[in-house]
Amino acid sequence: MTVYVKGVVFEGVDFDDPKHWGIEAYMARGGYAALKKILSTGMTQDEIIAEMKTSGLRGRGGAGFPTGLKWSFMPRSFPGQKYLVCNTDEGEPGTFKDLDIIVDNPHALIEGMIIGGFAMGITVGYNYIHGEVFEAYERFEAALEEARAAGFLGDNILGTNFCFQLHGHHGYGAYICGEETALLESLEGKKGQPRFKPPFPASFGLYGKPTTINNTETFASVPFIIREGGQKFLELGKPNNGGTKLFSVSGHVNRPGNYEIPLGTPFSELLEMCGGMRDGKKLKAVIPGGSSAPVLPADIMMQCTMDYDSISKAGSMLGSGAVIVMDETTCMVKALERLSYFYFEESCGQCTPCREGTGWLYRVVHRIEQGLGRPEDLDLLLSVGGNIAGRTICALGDAAVMPVQGMLKHFRSEFEHHIEHKQCLVPGF
């Protein structure tokens, strides 16, 4: 369920219209105007990238890297093939925004990618779509066909000499393939495992060629920026946190769903939009940016605004914008056990600290949850976590450790209670 509030990706989408995702509806609400503007006014690559920089758009996949800066890294004069890749391998627990974009407004993504291709002189793009979403994949393919038929994709787009081919690719459901270099490996037909960096994809990407990879929501924000101007986008949010952002709210709220709101909106407002806490229970904690973001207790969270800087200052991260809300009935040991199991299962196994360490973390948390914990286990968790974090090829190791550290920072007493009393502090568990 998408709840559009105020934002750029779902602006004007009429969810009641069964063909709201189609090209006609998209064009009726101003779609492809940005592309036409570029191709008819002779807007240059530099101008587009400058506009992107002005917008303050930061990568919506989780890392929050400035998009305009990333685009400027692409060697535009490189003589061989270059690639543009969209990362729709949305696997972060709690995140479900990209899915809605390709289901409900796929042409915004397509147009954004075409513009990206133009800006960086790239002629071939791929959209890597998460393995478990079949209908979404088919919807995207249908939209591609529409765009090709309308002359927005393919050779000599809109009668110019600009060519851009875009292909959908259905993954196989591994979380790690959301890591951009693992995604590239998978796209090449290999086992999805992150590459060691450097070299970065901008110099050695898909098939060893310069490649730019952006998140679905990032691309889908591009048409607005070009059409309305980067400044306007920036002003929707706040400085260094330009634009609006989709938040996937899940957990103990009355109306879970996707909320597209300006960056900088107070969390308390977002919670109200979601209809408040379910059954009038008390807010206990929030994971503000997807499962790898450290948990924040209610009192800290209620002081935060929903943007990169505020959440970061509070000791967590905005990440992919997956807001997991937990009420007072939640056992934090159980919650961490579930999170740790996820990282244990999804570690690719390539490098030692993550392969061995994620299993160790899970087993210790599991032991505590089962009432078999020992007093030294909490320090052991932090020690093992410390040996994983910063020692791995990709960020999955860090992602596995951050929930552990966050939980022990804010809810250590609950873990200690579990160990001492061999049962949960929270009634009902």
């Binding site: 299962e345 196994g349 392969r355 020692r391």
Partner: protein
């Protein structure tokens, strides 16, 4: 050049170096598992994490490029804490079964655990258990011990050329395995045993037979092909227990072929001959050395007196040492016997080089060619490590082209190829020669008749490839040298090399083929077909020789076999002299690049076995000859190699041979020597004989159309008749062969077959 400081030591390294390269260059050891200088960088074990100034996190030395002014600390608190952390992770799921692990004592994990591990473990959960895999008869697995460094996987893909191992599964469930139902069949597969830093992959033949600290390490030289690989032979209780590579970047790098690694099994075979024996009234009788050698001297003297010195011939394996061959020549020369041959598989008596035939350049130089045209070779089987080296060269830009009577996969990029019928190999070379002459405007020697030679598109492409550029090589492989028109191939190839400005090389099959040429074991006569009255055999047996050998020996008045094995020669010899295999004698092999490599015996001779050079020295004394007072093999060597070896190497044809295209006719046999049929030791190594390669030695292969036209089906059987004898072989398909070509290898399975027209029918 970049400046870097490692642990306070300043040095400069070339641009592009990694921190690991820089540390290695000044002897600073950074612990590691996945890093290997010959393999791509994986950076997955994380053991080599070091502290780099200004970097917030420790970085892997193997994958971190040096930047100018970088300061690295390999033993700082940050580095050691990271390394110890990784070691703890590696050990939590590693079974601590070192006492029963074959890797114990030579295990990198064990060694590094001493420095970076702890005496106890904080991990108290259940450990991971991984099912073992069947990788074939050579590699044993204990996959629970695997630390996922991926060296073996990278080796098969990058060095062996075909990814036979992979790592399916995710996270803790990742397992190294082969393709489902397949084994690892590379001809250089055993190197994964050396590469594995733990006891996950160990040698199957060696398994549980000794601990590493019980073994002496003795240097030796490979005795099974022309490469001259440097070996470490490991010995316990006067028995060779296993063979490992001794690193020599110019020859075998750090690798060994499986043939070189595993054929030691034959050294301990029950079939070893341990006492001199003579046939007395049809019965074999054990005798002393003196009696046996006196009998040999008497017989040879008698036969030369009665029938002339030309009635005696000596045939030696090209794996005999230089010293053995020289003393055999010298002792027989005392009786004026001059019929000496060590090119036992040479197909054409007209073939003759001006001096010893060799690679024409060093192995390193060959690999540095810009383009290389290989004619008539199953390179991966003939010279496995040379194929490996050229595979790496191709990655650096070598253009490798082929003229072959098959389309076997070389597992590398091929710049051009011409696949011909086996009986059209000469015509294939002539087509390229004609095209090269046209391209360059040069003329070919008068005795090469190019009339009627048709130049195909492929031939022209090969000609253009070989005439272009600076550093070019043209190499004749074993199929070419064993070809019945080898002399014509030689002449045509020499003319092509001349026109193209390329270096002509010969891939010699034996460990000492070049040395045998130097000693003079080469004649222009077919010594088998000549049915001599007496034969002296040194290390050679029927499967090394052309068809008809058994009949020739049985028909001879006297055959003396100097051999290490008692099983075969009993059928046709009159005297059996137990002589040492390479492991039990000192001696010298001259490898394909003309490099003499001397070695010592690594174990005492078995039973009454004696080194052949000593036996021949005594025979010289018994024959009453002068100049047989050698007291060491070095003294013998000094008599043979007494000058610049380059002067006795020359591949040019000794005399002109008329070369003319011939028409193809009928069903034709491709009869190459299979990988594990090459010599007496290889043929008696049980593990090698259990490989897929050994299995294919007893197969008839043809393309689908040929199989159909012969009424054969893959998986069925065929009766093959040639030269008045017949055998039944299993049938397999080989899509790389041309129509009307049957691939019937030359090995023990087809030993009875003769030459000439071949008939094949369903059996």
């Amino acid at each position: 050049m970049l400046e870097i400081e490692i642990d306070g030591k300043k040095l400069t390294v070339p641009t592009g170096s990694t921190v690991m390269d820089a540390a290695n260059s000044i002897g600073v050891h950074i612990p590691h598992f996945c890093y290997h200088k010959k393999l791509s960088i994986a950076a997955n074990c994380r053991m080599c994490l070091v502290q780099v100034e200004k970097a917030p996190k420790p970085l892997p030395a193997c994958a971190t490029p040096v930047t100018d002014g970088m300061k690295v600390y390999t033993h700082s608190d940050m580095a050691v804490k990271a390394q110890k952390g990784v070691m703890e992770f590696l050990l939590i799921n590693h079974p601590l079964d070192c006492p029963i692990c074959d890797q114990g004592g030579e295990c990198q994990l064990q060694d590094l655990a001493v420095g970076y591990g702890q005496s106890g473990s904080r991990y108290e959960e259940e450990k991971r258990v991984v099912a073992n895999k069947n990788l074939g008869p050579l590699i044993s697995t204990d996959m629970t011990r695997c630390i996922h460094c991926s060296r073996c996987v990278r080796f098969t893909e990058e060095i062996a050329g075909y990814q036979e191992l992979g790592m399916p599964g995710r996270g803790e469930h990742t397992e190294v395995m082969s393709f489902i139902g397949k084994t690892v069949n590379s001809e250089i597969s055993g190197n994964v045993i050396d590469l594995c830093p733990v006891g996950a992959l160990t040698s199957k033949p060696f398994r549980y037979s000794a601990r590493t600290w019980e073994l002496s390490r003795r240097k030796s030289v490979g005795a099974h092909d022309g490469l001259g690989a440097n070996l470490v032979v490991q010995v316990k209780n006067n028995q060779v227990m296993r063979v490992l590579p001794l690193e020599n970047e110019a020859i075998n790098e750090c690798w060994l072929s499986d043939r070189e690694r595993f054929s030691y099994e034959a050294l301990n075979s029950a079939a070893r001959l341990t006492q001199p024996m003579v046939k007395d009234g049809g019965e074999w009788k054990v005798v002393g050395w003196q009696e046996a050698l006196e009998l040999v001297a008497t017989k040879l003297k008698g036969i030369t007196a009665n029938h002339g010195a030309d009635s005696v011939a000596a045939i030696a394996s090209p794996n005999s040492t230089l010293e053995e061959l020289y003393l055999l020549r010298k002792s027989l020369a005392g009786l004026d016997i001059r019929n000496l041959e060590a090119r036992t598989r040479l197909g054409d008596v007209r073939f003759e080089t001006k001096a010893a035939g060799w690679l024409g350049q060093s192995i390193v130089d060959l690999a540095a060619s810009e383009s290389l045209l290989l004619i008539g070779s199953t390179l991966r089987k003939e010279q496995p490590l040379l194929a490996q080296r050229l595979r790496q060269s191709v990655k650096k830009g070598l253009k490798l082209a082929l003229i072959n009577p098959h389309d076997d996969e070389l597992l590398t990029k091929i710049a051009g190829k011409l696949v011909v019928r086996p009986d059209q190999l000469v015509e294939g070379v002539l087509a390229v020669l004609k095209a090269a002459a046209e391209v360059t405007g040069k003329t070919v020697p008068a005795d090469i008749d190019l009339a009627g030679v048709e130049v195909s598109t492929e031939a022209r492409a090969l000609a253009e490839l070989i005439v272009a550029g600076e550093k070019k090589s043209l190499v004749l492989g074993n199929i070419a040298l064993q070809h019945e028109r080898a002399a014509e191939l030689h002449a045509a190839a020499a003319a092509l090399a001349d026109i193209a400005g390329a270096t002509l090389g010969l891939l010699r099959d034996g460990a000492n083929s070049v040395g045998a040429d130097i000693v003079g074991f080469a004649t222009n006569k077919d010594l088998i077909a000549a049915n001599k009255k007496a034969y002296v055999l040194l290390h050679s047996e029927l499967a090394d020789l052309k068809s008809g050998a058994k009949a020739a020996f049985e028909g001879a008045e006297f055959v003396v076999a100097m051999t290490s094995f008692a099983d075969e020669a009993r059928d046709y010899a009159d005297v059996l002299l137990p002589v040492s295999p390479f492991s039990e004698t000192s001696g010298t092999f001259v490898n394909m690049e003309g490099k003499p490599q001397s070695f010592n015996g690594v174990v005492r001779p078995l039973g009454e076995t004696r080194p052949a050079w000593k036996v021949l020295r005594v025979l010289g004394n018994i024959l009453g000859l002068n100049g047989f007072d050698y007291d060491s093999s070095e003294a013998v060597r000094a008599d043979v190699l007494n000058g610049d070896i380059a002067k006795v190497l020359d591949n040019a044809p000794a005399k002109a041979v008329a070369v003319k295209a011939q028409a193809a006719a009928g069903l034709v046999r491709l009869a190459e020597v299979p990988l594990y049929e090459t010599d007496a030791l290889v043929r008696r190594a049980p593990s090698l004989q259990a490989t897929v390669d050994a299995e294919s030695a007893a197969q008839l292969r043809a393309n689908a159309a040929t199989l159909a036209s012969l009424g054969l089906v893959a998986g069925g059987n065929a009766r093959v008749q040639q030269g008045g004898a017949a055998v039944t072989l299993a049938v397999a398909e080989d899509a790389g062969l041309l129509d009307a070509v049957v691939r019937v290898p030359s090995g023990r399975a087809t030993l009875v077959l003769g030459s000439g027209a071949i008939e094949v029918a369903k059996a």
